[in-house]
């Protein structure tokens, strides 16, 4: 499990350019699914057919991560950039970025007060000595990610892009564990979540599921003087009640809570007052899809060092597996 998370978090996949991640996942799961395909937006869709009278469940974990995109290369070879997805400026200065061909750069700032530090006062230095040299290595419009290695601290793990490679890892593990599911399972490794839940929207349209479940990260409130949030690391899978993109269907919430209780899976309730997940896009597809989300509690979300607890990941896998095998007639 930890090895799966390591491989996934070390892969390159800013929004719109997720192929390395989807290819990696494909090699991990091909032997365990009945069918596998991609669509126009690059979503990877893996299918386990299940029993003929089961419900169609779409599980979504997004493969993309936040990052940067080069917008300008100046005479001295410094790069200017825009952010891809919700990147906090405080996480940038001194941070390193990596481009697809392995080029590494460091982000720093023009002289300025921290208070009015804006993105256009930051630049990336890839060590080039001229514009020409820089342009041989990157071009305008090149997407990059934050460069950071995976660390195993025991129960706790740190890596970049735990959001949402840990969700991908949950689905990969679940795919391996689920043998003959009662329901028809569509595991969708989605693209472009960080820029507006885009991949999930077109995938859900195509699949027309009966139930949509996003597996994604959520923030915690268990750090010093943290924002009020009753989710903690190590206390189990978080069952979402709402976020800005979705109010979880009351029946779906109840199904997940009952499953956790029945199977003694540790869980906590999540009320997120901002942010969204793929389920937000899924539930508004066509004439509506009852949807919910299983969240993995994560500290320092959208920083290069996102921390999770492996026990919460295991609980999330168990919950996905339990749902895959549950008869869902109450959704009719």
């Amino acid at each position: 499990m930890k090895e799966t998370i390591r491989q996934l978090t070390e892969a390159f996949g800013p929004s719109g350019y997720e192929t390395e991640v989807t290819s990696l996942i494909k090699t991990m799961i091909t032997d365990f699914v009945d069918e596998i395909k991609t669509d126009v937006l690059g979503n990877l869709i893996a299918i386990k057919k299940g029993a003929s009278n089961g419900h169609k469940i779409m599980f979504a974990a997004h493969t993309d991560e936040i990052g940067v995109v080069v917008t300008h290369i100046d005479k001295e070879g410094f790069l200017r950039f825009a952010t891809v997805g919700g990147v906090g400026i405080s996480t940038l200065v001194g941070n390193r970025v990596r481009f697809p061909n392995g080029i590494i750069g460091v982000i720093y700032h023009e002289k300025a007060d921290w208070k009015d530090l804006k993105i256009d006062k930051l630049y990336i230095d890839i060590g080039a000595e001229s514009k020409e040299e820089a342009m041989e290595q990157v071009k305008i419009g090149e997407f990059g990610i934050f460069h950071r290695e995976f660390c195993d601290l025991g129960n706790r793990l740190i890596a970049k892009s735990m959001d949402d490679r840990v969700g991908c890892a949950v689905l990969v593990e679940a795919i391996k564990k689920i043998k003959e599911p009662r329901n028809a399972l569509y595991f969708v490794f989605t693209t472009q979540e960080e820029v507006g839940l885009r991949g999930a929207r077109t995938a859900a349209y195509d699949l027309e599921p009966d139930l949509g479940i996003a597996v994604d990260v959520t923030i915690t409130g268990d750090m010093p003087e943290a924002r009020r949030m009753e989710v903690s690391l190590g206390k189990g899978a978080a069952i979402k009640v709402k976020d800005s993109s979705l109010i979880v269907h009351p029946k779906v919430k109840q199904i997940l809570m009952d499953l956790a209780e029945k199977n003694k899976i540790p869980y906590q309730m999540e009320v997120l007052e901002f942010g969204g997940t793929d389920a937000g896009a899924i539930h508004l597809t066509r004439s509506g899809v009852p949807s919910g989300a299983i969240s993995i509690p994560t500290r320092y979300v959208h920083s290069p060092s996102e921390m999770i607890d492996i026990r919460d990941v295991e609980a999330s896998v168990d919950l996905v597996v339990a749902l895959a095998n549950k008869e869902l007639n109450e959704l009719n």
Binding site: E230, K242, I247, P250, V271, L284, V289
Partner: protein, 351 residues
């Protein structure tokens, strides 16, 4: 049926966005006129009254949202006090001192409190109390006792009985947009005495307050040729500009803007004049914020219009309307629908 009484009951019932079950039941029980009724996957209640025209009949959809804004429990504090967030757009300043119903294991009374003025620092009283500093007092003494009843993610609604003001004015909560639902009922009451060619779908939509969500999926399921959204609009009050408001007692506002089909607008205005129904023009340069915006762009596009019941003090527990406006909104829609024929509806895609 007494639609005004029905509206009172709706207003006093609880149905926060995503949790409209209770309102749905009341509406479906009261709905005696539908030929067919169903709920879609998101909980929209769709009530069909068939027209008398020849097949294939055109479809018109009337949409008003039944959800209300509310609060949601985010933490149970020591001493049994509850912290909360919002669902939908609440002004934090109107919450202090409100009585609420906490929908835990059983519905229970709570009071929204904050630090009393006596112990506040100098100058603090000039500032609004922030949402994160407010709490609900359930009357329990310990966290453990409170947790027997309430858990994180439980919903909270304001507790308010409808009161009558002078003439035909009413004050209460959630008239946004249950007044619109009442207008649909008024419409059908009249329509059942008239002939109409088109099939009419009355829809009580869900989750409008969190992003017009129910309208998106219900429209997809119906695929109407014409959509009328009925919502509330800012009524005249002393602290607002005249150009931002419509007058109470002057009938519905008829919106004009990108979300309104020009031919439907012309026809609606003509209908109002023909039947001597008062109305206000309601120019809307920024079209978002009502179900009309969502209905318009579903599938291959829907000709839409927005009618608004004027309402003062929006998103508070003392929303104030003139019931006569609800009646005239219903009447205007009924007359409009009775006058529709296939030819007019087909013409809506010809520009």
């Amino acid at each position: 049926m007494d639609v005004k009484h029905f509206l009172r009951n709706l207003s006093e019932s609880s149905g926060v966005s995503g949790y409209e079950q209770n309102i749905t039941e009341q509406i479906s029980t009261a709905c005696t006129w539908a030929d067919d009724m169903r709920r879609d996957k998101l909980g929209n209640l769709i009530m069909l009254k068939r027209g008398e025209g020849t097949k294939p009949k055109k479809k018109i959809m009337l949409a008003a949202h039944m959800d209300e804004i509310g609060l949601i429990i985010t933490k149970v504090e020591k001493g049994g006090f509850l912290r909360f967030g919002t669902i939908g757009g609440f002004d934090q300043r109107v919450l202090l001192g409100q009585e609420v119903i906490v929908h835990g294991k059983t519905p229970s009374l709570g009071i929204i409190g904050a630090k009393p003025p006596h112990v506040q620092a100098h100058g603090e009283q000039n500032k609004a109390v922030k949402l994160e500093d407010l709490f609900i007092d359930l009357g329990y003494d310990t966290k453990e006792d409170a947790e027997k009843l309430v858990r994180i993610g439980d919903l909270v609604t304001l507790k308010r009985e409808v009161i009558d003001l002078q003439s035909s004015l009413l004050a209460g909560k959630a008239f946004d947009d249950r007044a619109g639902v009442a207008a649909i009922f008024e419409c059908f009451q009249i329509l059942s005495t008239l002939h109409h060619e088109v099939d009419v779908y009355g829809v009580a939509t869900v989750q409008e307050e969190v992003g017009l969500r129910g309208a998106v999926t219900s429209t997809y399921g119906i695929v109407p040729d014409l959509g009328i959204a009925i919502d509330v609009s800012f009524g005249d009050q002393p602290d607002l500009r005249e150009s931002e408001t419509i007058k109470l007692g002057n009938g519905p506002g008829i919106a004009i803007g990108p979300h309104v089909h020009p031919k439907v607008y012309d026809r609606m205005v003509k209908t109002a004049k023909e039947w001597n129904i008062k109305y206000s023009l309601d120019p809307s340069p920024s079209p978002g914020g009502t179900d009309a915006y969502a209905i318009q762009v579903v599938q291959a596009g829907v000709a839409t219009i927005l009618l608004s019941v004027p309402l003062r003090y929006m998103h508070t527990s003392i929303e104030t309307i003139d019931y006569d406006d609800v009646k005239s909104t219903g009447k205007l829609m009924a007359m409009f629908i009775a006058g529709l024929n296939n030819e007019f509806v087909e013409g809506l895609t010809c520009f």
